[in-house]
Symmetry: C2
Subunit: 97 residues, 2 copies
């Protein structure tokens, strides 16, 4: 079981993830892609990583704008698994932009 | 510009779409697939249809549960384009289940 991060730890991690915001109950970011197909391609790549990590973000698709939210439901809050997933999502969004 | 459906017309259309609910402000359904990859495969197929119809549903991904919401934003409510998209989404979900 992954350890819950404290509020201070979440704040510190978020300082290294400038596109993310949140607190110990969950962290999230949005990303606007150039088109709807480009957004779906990002969803597909994030899905592959999510399966690899066995950790699945909530994803909301609003045409070409995506919202991701990460929380470790089994732990009841944000853990290092969420921080790792957030970083991987950033890599995918960055390479798609 | 697609015509807005009246409340009565939406109700009648929804009587033929038993998995959908809503009103003239929007219609929605959820679908639980067998796995996260199966859910993403449905998203991909819905995305292809959405591009073909140039009409894009809101999609929320919560692990293997999907929520779709259809409304014609340019018309300010539900039109026949939403009913058509809802039917196409049903076909995809049915063939994936």
């Amino acid at each position: 079981m992954a350890d819950l991060l404290t509020a201070d730890a979440v704040r510190e991690e978020l300082s290294r993830l400038p596109d993310w915001s949140g607190d110990p109950t969950g962290i999230g970011r949005t990303a606007q892609l150039g088109s709807f197909p480009a957004a779906i391609a990002v969803v597909d790549r994030v899905a592959t990583v999510a399966e690899e990590l066995d950790h699945h973000p909530d994803i909301d698709i609003r045409w070409r704008t995506l919202t991701f939210r990460c929380v470790t439901h089994s732990a009841g809050g944000v853990t290092h698994r969420d921080i790792e997933l957030a970083g991987r999502i950033d890599d995918i969004v960055r390479s798609a932009a």
